[in-house]
Protein backbone atom coordinates (compact mmCIF):
# COMPACT_ATOMS: atom_id res chain seq x y z
CA UNK A 1 0.00 0.00 0.00
CA UNK A 2 2.81 2.30 0.92
CA UNK A 3 4.53 1.84 -2.44
CA UNK A 4 1.24 2.58 -4.21
CA UNK A 5 0.97 5.89 -2.34
CA UNK A 6 4.55 6.69 -3.22
CA UNK A 7 3.96 5.92 -6.89
CA UNK A 8 0.87 8.10 -6.92
CA UNK A 9 2.82 10.94 -5.36
CA UNK A 10 5.60 10.63 -7.93
CA UNK A 11 2.98 10.50 -10.68
CA UNK A 12 1.40 13.73 -9.44
CA UNK A 13 4.70 15.54 -9.10
CA UNK A 14 5.88 14.49 -12.57
CA UNK A 15 2.60 15.49 -14.19
CA UNK A 16 2.86 18.82 -12.41
CA UNK A 17 6.42 19.37 -13.62
CA UNK A 18 5.41 18.57 -17.20
CA UNK A 19 2.55 21.05 -16.94
CA UNK A 20 4.93 23.69 -15.64
CA UNK A 21 7.37 23.06 -18.48
CA UNK A 22 4.49 23.43 -20.94
CA UNK A 23 3.43 26.72 -19.39
CA UNK A 24 6.99 28.11 -19.56
CA UNK A 25 7.35 26.99 -23.17
CA UNK A 26 4.06 28.64 -24.10
CA UNK A 27 4.91 31.92 -22.36
CA UNK A 28 7.07 33.48 -25.13
CA UNK A 29 4.63 32.33 -27.82
CA UNK A 30 1.59 33.78 -26.08
CA UNK A 31 3.38 37.02 -25.19
CA UNK A 32 4.57 37.37 -28.79
CA UNK A 33 1.04 36.92 -30.11
CA UNK A 34 -0.32 39.29 -27.49
CA UNK A 35 2.27 41.96 -28.25
CA UNK A 36 1.73 41.84 -32.01
CA UNK A 37 -2.04 41.84 -31.73
CA UNK A 38 -2.26 44.57 -29.08
CA UNK A 39 0.21 46.89 -30.82
CA UNK A 40 -0.89 46.13 -34.37
CA UNK A 41 -4.66 46.02 -34.07
CA UNK A 42 -5.04 49.79 -33.70
CA UNK A 43 -3.65 50.52 -37.16
CA UNK A 44 -5.71 47.86 -38.90
CA UNK A 45 -8.17 49.22 -41.44
CA UNK A 46 -9.36 48.31 -44.90
CA UNK A 47 -7.11 50.88 -46.53
CA UNK A 48 -4.09 49.39 -44.77
CA UNK A 49 -4.61 46.28 -46.90
CA UNK A 50 -5.11 48.15 -50.16
CA UNK A 51 -3.26 51.49 -50.07
CA UNK A 52 0.35 52.31 -50.90
CA UNK A 53 2.71 53.35 -48.09
CA UNK A 54 2.31 56.97 -47.05
CA UNK A 55 5.34 59.24 -46.61
CA UNK A 56 6.44 60.43 -43.21
CA UNK A 57 4.10 62.98 -41.72
CA UNK A 58 1.04 61.86 -43.67
CA UNK A 59 -1.62 59.79 -42.01
CA UNK A 60 -3.25 56.78 -43.63
CA UNK A 61 -1.50 54.70 -46.22
CA UNK A 62 -0.99 50.97 -46.12
CA UNK A 63 1.03 48.03 -47.25
CA UNK A 64 -1.13 46.80 -50.15
CA UNK A 65 1.86 46.63 -52.48
CA UNK A 66 3.89 44.69 -49.90
CA UNK A 67 1.12 42.11 -49.40
CA UNK A 68 0.80 41.71 -53.16
CA UNK A 69 4.60 41.62 -53.49
CA UNK A 70 4.99 38.88 -50.89
CA UNK A 71 2.37 36.78 -52.66
CA UNK A 72 4.02 37.52 -56.01
CA UNK A 73 7.53 36.58 -54.86
CA UNK A 74 6.27 33.47 -53.07
CA UNK A 75 4.37 32.56 -56.25
CA UNK A 76 7.57 32.78 -58.29
CA UNK A 77 9.36 30.72 -55.62
CA UNK A 78 6.62 28.04 -55.90
CA UNK A 79 6.86 27.93 -59.68
CA UNK A 80 10.59 27.27 -59.41
CA UNK A 81 10.81 25.36 -56.15
CA UNK A 82 7.81 23.00 -56.17
CA UNK A 83 8.69 21.08 -59.38
CA UNK A 84 12.32 20.68 -58.31
CA UNK A 85 11.50 19.83 -54.70
CA UNK A 86 8.72 17.35 -55.43
CA UNK A 87 10.61 15.86 -58.39
CA UNK A 88 13.72 15.33 -56.28
CA UNK A 89 11.57 13.75 -53.56
CA UNK A 90 9.99 11.33 -56.03
CA UNK A 91 13.44 10.40 -57.30
CA UNK A 92 14.78 9.82 -53.79
CA UNK A 93 11.83 7.64 -52.82
CA UNK A 94 11.67 5.60 -56.02
CA UNK A 95 15.30 5.37 -57.08
CA UNK A 96 17.19 6.75 -54.09
CA UNK A 97 18.53 3.53 -52.58
CA UNK A 98 21.91 4.14 -54.16
CA UNK A 99 25.06 6.01 -53.24
CA UNK A 100 23.88 8.89 -55.43
CA UNK A 101 20.61 8.97 -53.46
CA UNK A 102 22.51 9.08 -50.17
CA UNK A 103 24.62 11.93 -51.54
CA UNK A 104 21.56 13.91 -52.59
CA UNK A 105 19.97 13.32 -49.20
CA UNK A 106 23.11 14.55 -47.46
CA UNK A 107 23.27 17.67 -49.63
CA UNK A 108 19.59 18.38 -48.98
CA UNK A 109 20.23 18.11 -45.25
CA UNK A 110 23.19 20.47 -45.40
CA UNK A 111 21.28 22.87 -47.64
CA UNK A 112 18.31 23.03 -45.26
CA UNK A 113 20.72 24.03 -42.50
CA UNK A 114 22.25 26.91 -44.46
CA UNK A 115 21.34 30.28 -42.88
CA UNK A 116 18.80 32.07 -45.05
CA UNK A 117 20.96 35.18 -45.40
CA UNK A 118 23.61 33.05 -47.11
CA UNK A 119 20.97 31.88 -49.56
CA UNK A 120 20.20 35.54 -50.14
CA UNK A 121 23.82 36.29 -51.00
CA UNK A 122 23.92 33.35 -53.40
CA UNK A 123 20.78 34.62 -55.16
CA UNK A 124 22.39 38.07 -55.25
CA UNK A 125 25.40 36.64 -57.03
CA UNK A 126 23.38 34.39 -59.33
CA UNK A 127 20.55 36.68 -60.35
CA UNK A 128 21.00 40.27 -59.17
CA UNK A 129 24.54 40.85 -60.44
CA UNK A 130 24.02 39.42 -63.95
CA UNK A 131 20.68 41.27 -64.31
CA UNK A 132 22.20 44.43 -62.82
CA UNK A 133 19.09 45.10 -60.77
CA UNK A 134 17.17 43.91 -57.76
CA UNK A 135 14.06 41.98 -58.81
CA UNK A 136 11.12 39.86 -57.72
CA UNK A 137 12.72 37.04 -59.71
CA UNK A 138 15.86 37.16 -57.57
CA UNK A 139 13.73 37.05 -54.41
CA UNK A 140 11.76 34.14 -55.83
CA UNK A 141 14.96 32.25 -56.63
CA UNK A 142 16.27 32.82 -53.10
CA UNK A 143 13.05 31.53 -51.51
CA UNK A 144 12.92 28.59 -53.95
CA UNK A 145 16.42 27.55 -52.90
CA UNK A 146 15.18 27.56 -49.32
CA UNK A 147 12.10 25.51 -50.21
CA UNK A 148 13.65 22.77 -52.34
CA UNK A 149 15.57 20.75 -49.71
CA UNK A 150 12.77 20.60 -47.14
CA UNK A 151 10.21 19.89 -49.82
CA UNK A 152 12.35 17.09 -51.29
CA UNK A 153 12.77 15.40 -47.93
CA UNK A 154 9.13 15.63 -46.93
CA UNK A 155 7.98 14.46 -50.37
CA UNK A 156 10.29 11.48 -50.06
CA UNK A 157 8.91 10.61 -46.63
CA UNK A 158 5.31 10.92 -47.82
CA UNK A 159 5.90 8.76 -50.89
CA UNK A 160 7.59 6.10 -48.80
CA UNK A 161 4.40 6.01 -46.71
CA UNK A 162 2.37 4.83 -49.72
CA UNK A 163 1.75 1.11 -49.14
CA UNK A 164 3.89 -1.21 -51.24
CA UNK A 165 0.74 -3.17 -52.11
CA UNK A 166 -0.57 -0.29 -54.23
CA UNK A 167 2.60 -0.16 -56.27
CA UNK A 168 2.37 -3.92 -56.83
CA UNK A 169 -1.31 -3.72 -57.71
CA UNK A 170 -0.52 -1.23 -60.44
CA UNK A 171 2.48 -3.15 -61.77
CA UNK A 172 0.48 -6.39 -61.78
CA UNK A 173 -2.09 -4.69 -64.01
CA UNK A 174 0.61 -4.16 -66.60
CA UNK A 175 1.21 -0.50 -65.84
CA UNK A 176 4.84 0.53 -66.51
CA UNK A 177 7.03 1.63 -63.61
CA UNK A 178 7.09 5.33 -64.48
CA UNK A 179 3.32 5.56 -64.87
CA UNK A 180 2.94 3.70 -61.59
CA UNK A 181 5.22 6.19 -59.85
CA UNK A 182 3.41 9.17 -61.30
CA UNK A 183 -0.24 8.17 -61.43
CA UNK A 184 -0.60 5.79 -58.52
CA UNK A 185 2.15 6.47 -55.97
CA UNK A 186 2.43 10.25 -56.38
CA UNK A 187 -1.34 10.56 -56.75
CA UNK A 188 -1.88 8.71 -53.47
CA UNK A 189 0.67 10.87 -51.65
CA UNK A 190 -0.61 14.09 -53.22
CA UNK A 191 -2.77 15.19 -50.28
CA UNK A 192 0.20 15.00 -47.95
CA UNK A 193 2.47 16.72 -50.46
CA UNK A 194 -0.02 19.61 -50.77
CA UNK A 195 0.16 20.03 -47.00
CA UNK A 196 3.96 19.95 -47.12
CA UNK A 197 3.95 22.60 -49.87
CA UNK A 198 1.65 24.89 -47.88
CA UNK A 199 3.77 24.58 -44.74
CA UNK A 200 6.97 25.24 -46.69
CA UNK A 201 5.38 28.24 -48.40
CA UNK A 202 4.27 29.57 -45.04
CA UNK A 203 7.85 29.36 -43.82
CA UNK A 204 9.26 31.00 -46.95
CA UNK A 205 6.72 33.84 -46.77
CA UNK A 206 8.07 34.81 -43.37
CA UNK A 207 11.69 35.15 -44.52
CA UNK A 208 13.32 38.59 -44.51
CA UNK A 209 17.05 37.98 -44.91
CA UNK A 210 17.00 36.37 -48.37
CA UNK A 211 14.86 39.21 -49.73
CA UNK A 212 16.91 42.13 -48.35
CA UNK A 213 19.32 42.22 -51.25
CA UNK A 214 17.37 40.31 -53.88
CA UNK A 215 13.90 41.79 -54.29
CA UNK A 216 14.86 44.84 -52.15
CA UNK A 217 11.78 46.98 -51.74
CA UNK A 218 9.44 49.20 -53.72
CA UNK A 219 7.16 52.05 -52.68
CA UNK A 220 4.74 51.35 -55.54
CA UNK A 221 2.77 48.51 -57.07
CA UNK A 222 4.90 46.27 -59.20
CA UNK A 223 3.98 43.27 -61.31
CA UNK A 224 7.18 42.98 -63.31
CA UNK A 225 9.45 40.11 -62.37
CA UNK A 226 12.58 42.09 -63.27
CA UNK A 227 11.84 45.04 -60.96
CA UNK A 228 12.45 45.56 -57.24
CA UNK A 229 9.36 44.46 -55.38
CA UNK A 230 8.00 45.23 -51.93
CA UNK A 231 7.46 42.44 -49.44
CA UNK A 232 5.81 42.44 -46.04
CA UNK A 233 8.90 41.24 -44.24
CA UNK A 234 11.29 43.82 -45.70
CA UNK A 235 8.63 46.50 -45.22
CA UNK A 236 8.39 45.57 -41.55
CA UNK A 237 12.16 45.75 -41.28
CA UNK A 238 12.29 49.20 -42.87
CA UNK A 239 9.47 50.55 -40.73
CA UNK A 240 10.96 49.08 -37.55
CA UNK A 241 14.46 50.56 -38.00
CA UNK A 242 13.11 54.00 -38.94
CA UNK A 243 13.23 56.83 -36.38
CA UNK A 244 9.51 57.69 -36.70
CA UNK A 245 6.96 56.58 -34.13
CA UNK A 246 4.13 56.35 -36.67
CA UNK A 247 6.26 54.02 -38.84
CA UNK A 248 6.83 51.85 -35.77
CA UNK A 249 3.06 51.53 -35.44
CA UNK A 250 2.85 50.54 -39.09
CA UNK A 251 5.55 47.92 -38.50
CA UNK A 252 3.37 46.37 -35.79
CA UNK A 253 0.29 46.35 -38.00
CA UNK A 254 2.28 44.89 -40.91
CA UNK A 255 3.61 42.22 -38.57
CA UNK A 256 0.06 41.37 -37.58
CA UNK A 257 -0.89 40.98 -41.25
CA UNK A 258 2.15 38.78 -41.90
CA UNK A 259 1.23 36.68 -38.90
CA UNK A 260 -2.31 36.27 -40.24
CA UNK A 261 -1.01 35.36 -43.69
CA UNK A 262 1.49 32.77 -42.47
CA UNK A 263 -0.95 31.47 -39.87
CA UNK A 264 -3.74 30.94 -42.36
CA UNK A 265 -1.38 29.13 -44.77
CA UNK A 266 -0.24 26.81 -41.99
CA UNK A 267 -3.82 26.33 -40.85
CA UNK A 268 -4.91 25.46 -44.39
CA UNK A 269 -2.11 22.90 -44.53
CA UNK A 270 -3.21 21.33 -41.26
CA UNK A 271 -6.87 21.23 -42.27
CA UNK A 272 -5.93 19.62 -45.56
CA UNK A 273 -3.94 16.91 -43.81
CA UNK A 274 -6.70 16.30 -41.27
CA UNK A 275 -9.29 15.87 -43.99
CA UNK A 276 -6.97 13.40 -45.68
CA UNK A 277 -6.64 11.27 -42.58
CA UNK A 278 -10.39 11.52 -41.83
Amino acid sequence: MNSLMARRAVNWIMTGLCGLALAIALLPLVSLLWLVISRGLAGLSWSFFTALPAPVGETGGGVGNAIAGTLYIVGIACLIGVPFGVGAGVYLAERGDTRLGDGIRFIAEVLSGVPSIVVGIVAYGLVVIPMRRFSALAGGVALAVLMVPTLARSTEELIRLVPHELREASLALGVPQWRTSLRVVLRTALGGIMTAILLTVARAAGETAPLLFTSLNNQYWNWRADQPTASLTVQIYNYAVSPYAEWHDRAWTSALILLLLVGSLALAGRLLSRRRVR
Binding site: D97, E165, A169, S170, A172, L173, G174, V175, P176, V184
Partner: protein
Protein backbone atom coordinates in the same frame (compact mmCIF):
# COMPACT_ATOMS: atom_id res chain seq x y z
CA UNK B 1 -5.24 -30.92 -73.02
CA UNK B 2 -2.60 -28.46 -74.16
CA UNK B 3 -0.73 -26.80 -71.29
CA UNK B 4 -1.53 -23.12 -70.72
CA UNK B 5 1.29 -22.66 -68.27
CA UNK B 6 4.38 -24.82 -68.25
CA UNK B 7 7.11 -24.52 -65.63
CA UNK B 8 10.45 -26.23 -66.24
CA UNK B 9 13.01 -26.66 -63.45
CA UNK B 10 12.30 -23.26 -61.92
CA UNK B 11 14.64 -22.02 -59.21
CA UNK B 12 14.23 -18.72 -57.38
CA UNK B 13 16.37 -16.89 -54.88
CA UNK B 14 16.15 -13.88 -52.60
CA UNK B 15 19.82 -12.98 -52.30
CA UNK B 16 21.29 -16.15 -50.69
CA UNK B 17 17.94 -17.64 -49.74
CA UNK B 18 17.02 -20.43 -52.15
CA UNK B 19 13.23 -20.04 -52.13
CA UNK B 20 12.23 -22.41 -54.95
CA UNK B 21 14.10 -25.58 -55.84
CA UNK B 22 13.78 -27.11 -59.26
CA UNK B 23 10.01 -26.90 -59.66
CA UNK B 24 8.41 -28.34 -62.80
CA UNK B 25 4.70 -28.61 -63.49
CA UNK B 26 2.07 -27.84 -66.12
CA UNK B 27 -1.36 -26.26 -65.88
CA UNK B 28 -3.84 -27.15 -68.65
CA UNK B 29 -6.02 -24.36 -70.04
CA UNK B 30 -9.31 -23.66 -68.26
CA UNK B 31 -8.37 -25.51 -65.11
CA UNK B 32 -7.71 -24.40 -61.56
CA UNK B 33 -4.42 -25.27 -59.89
CA UNK B 34 -4.31 -24.97 -56.11
CA UNK B 35 -0.96 -24.47 -54.38
CA UNK B 36 -0.83 -25.66 -50.78
CA UNK B 37 1.92 -25.94 -48.22
CA UNK B 38 3.07 -24.48 -44.91
CA UNK B 39 4.09 -20.80 -44.54
CA UNK B 40 7.41 -19.92 -46.11
CA UNK B 41 7.41 -22.90 -48.47
CA UNK B 42 7.65 -20.81 -51.64
CA UNK B 43 3.98 -20.74 -52.71
CA UNK B 44 3.84 -16.98 -53.14
CA UNK B 45 7.27 -16.87 -54.77
CA UNK B 46 6.08 -19.48 -57.25
CA UNK B 47 3.03 -17.53 -58.43
CA UNK B 48 5.04 -14.31 -58.54
CA UNK B 49 7.43 -15.99 -60.96
CA UNK B 50 4.52 -16.66 -63.31
CA UNK B 51 3.98 -12.96 -64.10
CA UNK B 52 7.55 -11.80 -63.44
CA UNK B 53 6.60 -9.90 -60.30
CA UNK B 54 9.32 -11.86 -58.50
CA UNK B 55 12.08 -9.96 -60.29
CA UNK B 56 10.83 -6.64 -58.88
CA UNK B 57 12.01 -7.54 -55.37
CA UNK B 58 15.54 -6.20 -54.78
CA UNK B 59 18.04 -9.04 -54.71
CA UNK B 60 15.70 -11.56 -56.36
CA UNK B 61 16.81 -13.81 -59.20
CA UNK B 62 15.72 -17.03 -60.82
CA UNK B 63 16.65 -19.76 -63.28
CA UNK B 64 14.64 -22.22 -65.35
CA UNK B 65 11.77 -21.54 -67.71
CA UNK B 66 8.17 -20.47 -67.43
CA UNK B 67 6.13 -20.82 -70.61
CA UNK B 68 2.69 -19.40 -71.27
CA UNK B 69 1.12 -20.78 -74.44
CA UNK B 70 4.51 -22.28 -75.25
CA UNK B 71 6.27 -18.90 -75.13
CA UNK B 72 9.11 -18.42 -72.69
CA UNK B 73 8.44 -15.49 -70.37
CA UNK B 74 12.10 -14.60 -70.23
CA UNK B 75 12.61 -14.57 -73.99
CA UNK B 76 14.14 -11.29 -74.99
CA UNK B 77 11.12 -10.01 -76.90
CA UNK B 78 8.73 -10.56 -73.99
CA UNK B 79 7.98 -7.28 -72.25
CA UNK B 80 7.12 -7.91 -68.58
CA UNK B 81 4.65 -5.03 -68.70
CA UNK B 82 2.70 -6.63 -71.55
CA UNK B 83 3.00 -10.05 -69.95
CA UNK B 84 1.32 -8.80 -66.77
CA UNK B 85 -1.72 -7.80 -68.79
CA UNK B 86 -2.02 -11.42 -69.96
CA UNK B 87 -1.28 -12.93 -66.56
CA UNK B 88 -3.30 -11.03 -63.97
CA UNK B 89 -2.89 -11.15 -60.23
CA UNK B 90 -5.03 -10.82 -57.11
CA UNK B 91 -3.18 -10.27 -53.86
CA UNK B 92 -3.63 -11.59 -50.36
CA UNK B 93 -4.75 -8.26 -48.97
CA UNK B 94 -7.31 -6.32 -50.97
CA UNK B 95 -5.46 -3.34 -52.43
CA UNK B 96 -7.87 -1.05 -54.28
CA UNK B 97 -6.50 2.38 -55.21
CA UNK B 98 -7.71 4.60 -52.35
CA UNK B 99 -7.73 7.80 -54.39
CA UNK B 100 -10.01 6.37 -57.07
CA UNK B 101 -13.73 5.66 -57.26
CA UNK B 102 -15.10 2.15 -57.61
CA UNK B 103 -15.62 2.80 -61.31
CA UNK B 104 -12.08 4.06 -61.84
CA UNK B 105 -10.60 1.17 -59.90
CA UNK B 106 -12.18 -1.34 -62.25
CA UNK B 107 -10.82 0.35 -65.37
CA UNK B 108 -7.53 1.38 -63.73
CA UNK B 109 -5.52 -1.09 -65.82
CA UNK B 110 -6.78 0.54 -69.00
CA UNK B 111 -6.94 4.13 -67.81
CA UNK B 112 -3.41 4.19 -66.38
CA UNK B 113 -2.15 2.83 -69.68
CA UNK B 114 -4.10 5.38 -71.68
CA UNK B 115 -6.27 2.73 -73.38
CA UNK B 116 -9.66 4.08 -74.43
CA UNK B 117 -12.78 1.97 -74.61
CA UNK B 118 -16.39 1.59 -73.61
CA UNK B 119 -15.63 1.99 -69.91
CA UNK B 120 -19.22 1.78 -68.55
CA UNK B 121 -19.91 -1.50 -70.35
CA UNK B 122 -16.57 -2.92 -69.29
CA UNK B 123 -17.14 -1.89 -65.67
CA UNK B 124 -20.53 -3.62 -65.61
CA UNK B 125 -19.18 -6.76 -67.26
CA UNK B 126 -16.17 -7.02 -64.94
CA UNK B 127 -18.19 -6.30 -61.80
CA UNK B 128 -20.81 -8.88 -62.83
CA UNK B 129 -18.02 -11.41 -63.37
CA UNK B 130 -16.70 -10.62 -59.91
CA UNK B 131 -20.23 -10.95 -58.43
CA UNK B 132 -20.12 -7.39 -57.13
CA UNK B 133 -22.32 -5.52 -59.60
CA UNK B 134 -25.61 -5.71 -57.68
CA UNK B 135 -24.01 -4.41 -54.49
CA UNK B 136 -22.27 -1.40 -56.01
CA UNK B 137 -24.16 -0.46 -59.17
CA UNK B 138 -25.75 2.57 -57.46
CA UNK B 139 -22.52 3.85 -55.92
CA UNK B 140 -19.92 3.50 -58.65
CA UNK B 141 -18.76 7.09 -58.05
CA UNK B 142 -17.98 6.49 -54.40
CA UNK B 143 -14.48 5.86 -53.10
CA UNK B 144 -13.27 2.28 -53.27
CA UNK B 145 -12.30 2.34 -49.60
CA UNK B 146 -15.97 2.78 -48.64
CA UNK B 147 -16.47 -0.91 -49.46
CA UNK B 148 -16.15 -3.76 -46.95
CA UNK B 149 -13.10 -6.03 -46.99
CA UNK B 150 -14.83 -8.77 -48.97
CA UNK B 151 -16.23 -6.28 -51.45
CA UNK B 152 -12.80 -4.69 -51.84
CA UNK B 153 -11.28 -8.07 -52.68
CA UNK B 154 -13.98 -8.73 -55.29
CA UNK B 155 -13.32 -5.23 -56.65
CA UNK B 156 -9.66 -6.21 -57.03
CA UNK B 157 -10.75 -9.34 -58.89
CA UNK B 158 -12.94 -7.21 -61.18
CA UNK B 159 -9.98 -4.87 -61.73
CA UNK B 160 -7.77 -7.82 -62.71
CA UNK B 161 -10.49 -9.20 -65.02
CA UNK B 162 -11.05 -5.87 -66.76
CA UNK B 163 -7.72 -6.09 -68.61
CA UNK B 164 -8.97 -9.45 -69.96
CA UNK B 165 -6.15 -11.75 -68.79
CA UNK B 166 -5.72 -15.33 -69.95
CA UNK B 167 -4.30 -16.53 -66.64
CA UNK B 168 -5.30 -15.29 -63.20
CA UNK B 169 -2.96 -15.73 -60.23
CA UNK B 170 -4.61 -15.53 -56.81
CA UNK B 171 -2.40 -15.33 -53.74
CA UNK B 172 -4.57 -16.40 -50.81
CA UNK B 173 -7.43 -14.21 -52.03
CA UNK B 174 -9.78 -15.21 -49.24
CA UNK B 175 -7.44 -15.44 -46.26
CA UNK B 176 -8.65 -12.15 -44.77
CA UNK B 177 -12.35 -12.71 -45.49
CA UNK B 178 -15.29 -14.09 -43.55
CA UNK B 179 -16.92 -17.40 -44.61
CA UNK B 180 -19.70 -15.78 -46.64
CA UNK B 181 -17.31 -13.62 -48.67
CA UNK B 182 -15.03 -16.65 -49.05
CA UNK B 183 -17.89 -18.75 -50.44
CA UNK B 184 -18.64 -15.98 -52.93
CA UNK B 185 -15.07 -15.94 -54.15
CA UNK B 186 -14.94 -19.71 -54.45
CA UNK B 187 -18.13 -19.68 -56.48
CA UNK B 188 -16.55 -17.01 -58.62
CA UNK B 189 -13.44 -19.14 -59.23
CA UNK B 190 -15.60 -22.00 -60.46
CA UNK B 191 -17.34 -19.68 -62.93
CA UNK B 192 -14.16 -17.99 -64.12
CA UNK B 193 -12.64 -21.31 -65.03
CA UNK B 194 -14.90 -21.29 -68.10
CA UNK B 195 -12.95 -18.41 -69.57
CA UNK B 196 -9.47 -18.49 -68.04
CA UNK B 197 -6.81 -20.51 -66.27
CA UNK B 198 -6.40 -19.96 -62.55
CA UNK B 199 -3.55 -20.60 -60.12
CA UNK B 200 -4.63 -20.09 -56.52
CA UNK B 201 -2.45 -20.16 -53.42
CA UNK B 202 -4.34 -21.17 -50.31
CA UNK B 203 -3.75 -22.13 -46.70
CA UNK B 204 -7.20 -23.61 -46.51
CA UNK B 205 -7.20 -27.30 -47.47
CA UNK B 206 -10.98 -27.50 -47.82
CA UNK B 207 -10.85 -24.54 -50.15
CA UNK B 208 -8.25 -26.24 -52.32
CA UNK B 209 -10.38 -29.37 -52.42
CA UNK B 210 -13.51 -27.39 -53.31
CA UNK B 211 -12.26 -25.20 -56.13
CA UNK B 212 -9.31 -26.86 -57.85
CA UNK B 213 -8.80 -29.47 -60.55
CA UNK B 214 -5.24 -30.19 -59.60
CA UNK B 215 -3.25 -29.50 -56.45
CA UNK B 216 0.46 -28.97 -55.90
CA UNK B 217 2.01 -29.41 -52.46
CA UNK B 218 5.12 -27.33 -51.75
CA UNK B 219 7.46 -27.86 -48.83
CA UNK B 220 10.70 -26.00 -48.11
CA UNK B 221 10.82 -24.62 -51.63
CA UNK B 222 10.36 -27.99 -53.29
CA UNK B 223 7.38 -29.31 -55.18
CA UNK B 224 6.67 -32.50 -53.26
CA UNK B 225 3.67 -33.69 -55.20
CA UNK B 226 1.39 -32.48 -57.97
CA UNK B 227 -1.67 -34.35 -59.15
CA UNK B 228 -5.44 -34.34 -59.51
CA UNK B 229 -6.96 -32.73 -56.45
CA UNK B 230 -8.99 -35.80 -55.55
CA UNK B 231 -5.90 -37.97 -55.55
CA UNK B 232 -3.83 -35.53 -53.48
CA UNK B 233 -6.48 -35.39 -50.78
CA UNK B 234 -7.55 -39.06 -50.74
CA UNK B 235 -4.62 -41.08 -51.94
CA UNK B 236 -1.37 -39.12 -52.01
CA UNK B 237 1.77 -40.89 -53.11
CA UNK B 238 4.07 -39.05 -50.74
CA UNK B 239 3.85 -39.55 -46.99
CA UNK B 240 4.71 -35.85 -46.40
CA UNK B 241 1.71 -34.83 -48.50
CA UNK B 242 -0.51 -37.13 -46.51
CA UNK B 243 0.83 -35.77 -43.23
CA UNK B 244 0.14 -32.22 -44.37
CA UNK B 245 -3.36 -32.68 -45.81
CA UNK B 246 -4.43 -34.67 -42.76
CA UNK B 247 -3.09 -31.97 -40.47
CA UNK B 248 -0.23 -33.89 -38.84
CA UNK B 249 2.20 -31.03 -39.51
CA UNK B 250 2.35 -27.65 -41.16
Amino acid sequence: MRPKVEVRSLNAWFKANHALRNVSLTVPANTVLAIIGPSGCGKTTFVRCLNRMHELVPGACQSGNVLVDGQDLHARRVDPVNLRRRVGMVFQRANPFPTMTIFDNVVAGLKLNGVRGDYPALVEKSLRQAALWDEVKDRLRQSAVSLSGGQQQRLCIARALAVDPEVLLMDEPASALDPIATARIEELIRQLRESLTIVIVTHNMQQAARVSDSTAFFYMGELIEHGPTEQIFTNPRESRTEDYVTGKFG
